[in-house]
Each structure stands twice: as C-alpha cells, then as structure tokens.
C-alpha cells in the first residue's frame, strides 16, 4: 500500500467539556476520499486538525509524512477550502486569490498569473474583476476553491465544497476534483450528502459523534441508504413548474413547497439528480439557483449503523 497522505493516531479534540473528535486512528491514502457524516459528526474538526487550524487535545496527525501543528512550511503542499465564507467583500475575486497565493511564496507577478489560471479552472475568470460582495453563493464557493488550488497543492482539503451550488456548478466542481486526483493530487472532501461524495469517489470515511464509524467502499453504505428516501431542496425561478416536471417520474415520492423552493423526496437520487442537471443545463424549467439536501436520510443510516 502507498504511504498514507493523512495519518491520525488516537486523535482527540475537546472544546471544553464537549468532545469534537474522539480517539480517531485512521489512514487516508492517495486519490479522492470522501468524509461523510451528519452535521456535528466531527468532519470539520478533523479537517481543521489536518490543516493546522486546531491543536489536537490528544494524539497526533501527520500529513504527507510530516507533523501538522506548528509546521507552516507543510502548507506549501496543502490547499484548504473552508466551509464558511472568508472574504473581504470589497475585494475582487482576482485580488483576493492573488493576495492569498502570495502567502504561498509566489512572487507578485507569478501570484497574479497563478490566480488567473485558478479562476479560469473554476470558470470564474469572467467575474475575476468583480467585487466578491456581488458574487452568488456558487461563485463564492468557486472562488474559495480557486484559492485552494492556485498553488497546485499535493493535498486538497475541501470542507463542504458543493454547499449552495447550482447543479451545473456542482458538476464542474466534481469534474475538477476528479481531474486533479487523476493528475496525482490527493483530495479529502467532506459532505453530509452521500450522493455528492459518491459522484467523486468510492472511498469514504463515515463519521458520527466524533468517531470514525466506517471506512471503505461507498457501495455498501449505498445499499443501506437506498432504503431511506433522499430529500432534496431546490430553489428555482419557477418551483411549481419544476415540481410538475419532476413529479411525473415514479422515483419522486413526495413534494412540498417553500418560499421560492420545492422540497422533494426521491428513492433514486442518481436518476433524480441526472434529470435535474439536465433541466438546469437546458434551461427548460427556468433558472435553478440552489440545490441542497438535508441530512435526514443519512442520519437514518447512522441510526441504523449505531444501533
């Protein structure tokens, strides 16, 4: 087996009386690895320990064979895309990415060039000179991704990178992640949505209550999750028209309307998302702005696994 990209040894993190990560020992190999778990499972804590944002309360974590804490030079080789927005709204996308690339040690001219290439890679070059304050949620996610890949890291750590993106942007980002892995980079990506992870990789780490619950192939988990309907919330220009088109298929079990959005339940997420992406691409059903999935279905699987 090749050397692990990330190796955690009895890793724990407490926030005062609350435990964020509980005695986790795990090795992550090269390629794309999905970190899956409901909100509060400890995914973000693990990613923050891996990227040196937090100091372990106990245990140790090594990334690319090096200790993480107090080792800034390691981050020349790591790219991190956080879950939360972290912007100066008055800066343009290009200025923001260039400034951050500069911190990776690239001289100014090269930093600007690398920032342009990264923005081009995430299809944001057209909006590079616009202020970040005017970016949509999906554009914000992509500009965060651009700063993470701009210095061409060996390990890319992505915390919920698809949150709030429209279907087309999701597909592009998923393709980008797979391409980077194909070119030899390793990617550790977190999500609470199995379908998203499944589109990127078959290798997953399943987390729950600060522990690794399962690791390995996604298909085993998939068999479990198919027993539970998958809920999807779609924000669109015409939620009713969208609902009419989607409910015609027998995999859509239930739907309800919210303000500017429709929430659907499906027992075949693959087919459902394929149709949704197609509809967004053709524009046949009007603008589709945001797709999100509550983690209720995944929670049901976790409940099943931890019984």
């Amino acid at each position: 087996m090749s050397a692990p990209v990330v190796a955690a040894d009895r890793l724990s993190k407490w926030y005062g009386q609350v435990i964020g990560l509980n005695d986790v020992s795990v090795e992550v190999g090269p390629g794309v690895t999905g970190l899956l778990g409901p909100n509060g499972a400890g995914k973000s804590t693990l990613l923050k320990l891996i990227t040196g944002q937090l100091k372990p309360s106990k245990g140790a974590v090594r990334v690319l064979g090096e200790p993480v804490w107090g080792n800034p030079p390691l981050f020349f080789r790591v790219g991190f895309c956080p879950e939360q927005d972290a912007f100066y709204e008055r800066m343009t996308g290009l200025e923001w990415v260039t400034a951050l690339v500069g911190l990776n040690g690239l001289p100014e001219a090269e930093a600007a060039e690398a920032a342009r290439r990264a923005l081009d890679t995430v299809d944001l070059l057209d909006a590079a000179d616009r202020k970040i304050g005017g970016y949509s949620k999906g554009m914000r996610q992509r500009v965060k991704l651009a700063q993470a890949i701009a210095h061409d890291p060996e390990l890319l750590v992505l915390d919920e990178p698809l949150a709030g993106m429209d279907p087309i942007a999701r597909r592009k980002v998923i393709r980008l992640i797979k391409e980077r892995a194909a070119r030899g980079a390793s990617v550790l990506v977190s999500s609470h949505i199995l379908h998203e992870i499944e589109a990127m990789t078959a290798t997953i780490l399943l987390m729950h209550n600060g522990r690794i619950l399962a690791e390995g192939n996604v298909h085993t988990i998939r068999d479990l999750i198919d027993e539970h309907p998958h809920q999807v919330r779609v924000r669109a220009d015409d939620p009713r028209g969208l609902a009419r088109a989607l409910v015609a298929h027998d995999d859509v079990l239930k739907l309800q309307f919210e303000d500017g959005a429709v929430v659907l339940e499906t027992n075949r997420p693959d087919a459902f998302y394929a149709r949704l992406t197609e509809a967004a691409a053709t524009g046949a059903l009007g603008g589709i702005h945001e797709v999100s999935s509550p983690d209720d279905n995944l929670q049901a699987v976790f409940d099943y696994l931890v019984k």
Binding site: Q17, Q53, F76, F80, G105, P107, R117, I149
Partner: protein
C-alpha cells in the same frame, strides 16, 4: 502544428523562503492604505510640523537675526510632543481594523491554512501599523536632523548633540511599539474596527483623566504612571535628557510600558487563531 497542454500546470518558479510571508501581509496592508485619499491627507497633515520646522531651521541657518529659531536638543523632544496627536490618529485609523476586519470576515482560518505562522501573521500586521507610525515620528525627526546639517553646512550641531540620533530612534521605537502592540491586541479582541478605535481612544483619555483628577486632588504627579500617555512622556524626557515632567519614577513608567507590551503579546497569542474555540 504542436498542440500545447492547456490544462492546469504545476508552478515551477521560485518561491519565497518560509518565514517571509509576513512581508506579503505588510506590503498588501501598506498598499491598501496608500490608496485611500483620506489617509494620505492625514499623513500629509502629520508632516506639517516637519515643514514648519524645516523653514525655521533654514531661516536660523541663513539669517543671523533669526537665531532665536535655531534648534536645540529640546526642539526634537517638542517635535515628538506635537506629533502625539498624529500618532493617535494614525494608530486608530490604521490599526483598529487590522485584525478585527480579518476576524469579522473569517479570513484568519484561510490565512493560517497557508504557509504562515501566527507569529508571522502578527508581524505582518504589526509591520503595517509600525511603518506608518514610524513615518510620522522617526522619519520626519531624522529628516530634520539631516536638514539641519544641510542648511547650516556643518556637523557642529550633530556632534554637539551626539546622543540625539539614538535618542530619536529609541523614543520613536518605544512610542511606536507601545501603540502598535496595544492597538493590535485590542483589534484582536473584537470584530468591529469602530469599537476597537473607541476602546483605544477611550483607554488613552480615561487613564489621562484619572491621572488628572488624582493630580488635582493630591497636588502631586506621583501617580503619572496611571496614564498611558504620561508614561511615554516621562520616559521620553529621560531619553532626551530634559528634566522629567512628572514626579513619579521613570523606571516605573518603563515597567508599565513593558508590562502593557507583554500583556498585548499574551492577548495576541491567545486571540490570533484560525478557529476560535469557545469553551
């Protein structure tokens, strides 16, 4: 025709050495501020005294009847006294948002996921504030020394007051260090630049007011160490070899200044983190 690879390419150029990222932060901060017209106006106003004194030096050097305007060592002490107000303006304008704005926009977690230590981050921010503060204290004072030698076409004044060069440097560094560290520490405590600015100005005026009241009540300036400003002034008098203006021991003022800088470093150590852990 050969077709070139258009996909993403690994950067093969030169990288700055680890440990130099603070320069990137400092340079970016300085550039941003130099792009603000209001700030440039403040900086220009801060150099007003320099221009007035330069004219005085010129007149005294070239017109014997204007000898009353000739500089002395005390002139430079007075120069720093007059600059105090600009030190306050620049500290508040430049420093209040330096860390607070990063905290408000969650930028710290991205910065600290780069090859940048927390110490380098603080050094970069400190560099921005210290640069502009030195530009309104050390730079004009040293320029005045040079002008005096040029206008009088002699080094007599410099050689007769050889302590002035180290005194100017030492005083400016002390004043700038205290202002920079305390302002950065306050900025790290908040996500609002405005609140930080009020806190800093409030601390200065409040401690001065407390000292003023106690001085009026006791008729003595033994409690000058209670005032942030008075401590700097007291040490300044000693550095410039003029009689101290307060009765309190200057060593105590030095101790207070050192303690404030130490406390600020502690606050920065605790507050500058990629992820804020609330327990």
């Amino acid at each position: 025709m050969p077709i070139h690879d258009q996909s993403y390419r690994r950067y093969g150029g030169r990288r700055n050495e680890p440990g130099s990222a603070w320069l990137v932060i400092a340079a970016a901060g300085i550039r941003t501020l130099l792009g603000r017209k209001l700030f440039l106006a403040v900086m220009l106003a801060a150099w007003g005294q320099f221009f007035v004194r330069a004219v005085m030096f010129y007149l005294s050097a070239n017109f014997p009847s204007m000898n009353v305007l000739a500089p002395s060592a005390e002139t430079f002490r007075q120069f720093f006294d007059f600059q105090e107000i600009f030190v306050l303006f620049v500290t508040v304008y430049v420093g209040s948002g330096l860390i607070a704005n990063d905290r408000r926009s969650n930028a710290l977690q991205i910065y600290l996921s780069k090859p940048l230590s927390r110490a380098e981050y603080v050094a970069g921010k400190l560099g921005v504030l210290a640069f502009f503060l030195l530009m309104v204290t050390l730079a004009p004072a040293l320029a005045l020394l040079v002008l005096e030698a040029m206008f009088s076409a002699s080094l007599d004044f410099l050689l007769g007051n050889v302590f002035l060069l180290p005194a100017i440097t030492l005083y400016a560094v002390m004043e700038v260090s205290l202002a920079s560290f305390t302002m950065l520490a306050l900025s790290s405590l908040s996500t609002s630049a405005r609140y930080t600015a009020m806190l800093y100005a409030g601390a200065l005026f409040f401690t001065a007011a407390v000292f003023g009241i106690l001085r009026g009540a006791t008729g003595s300036s033994m409690l000058a160490w209670l005032s942030l400003r008075a401590n700097v002034e007291q040490i300044g008098d000693v550095i410039f070899r003029v009689p101290p203006r307060f009765e309190s021991p200057w060593g105590l003022s030095l101790l207070v200044v050192a303690a404030l800088i130490g406390l600020s470093v502690l606050v920065l150590e605790r507050r500058v983190r990629g992820v804020e852990v609330v327990t």
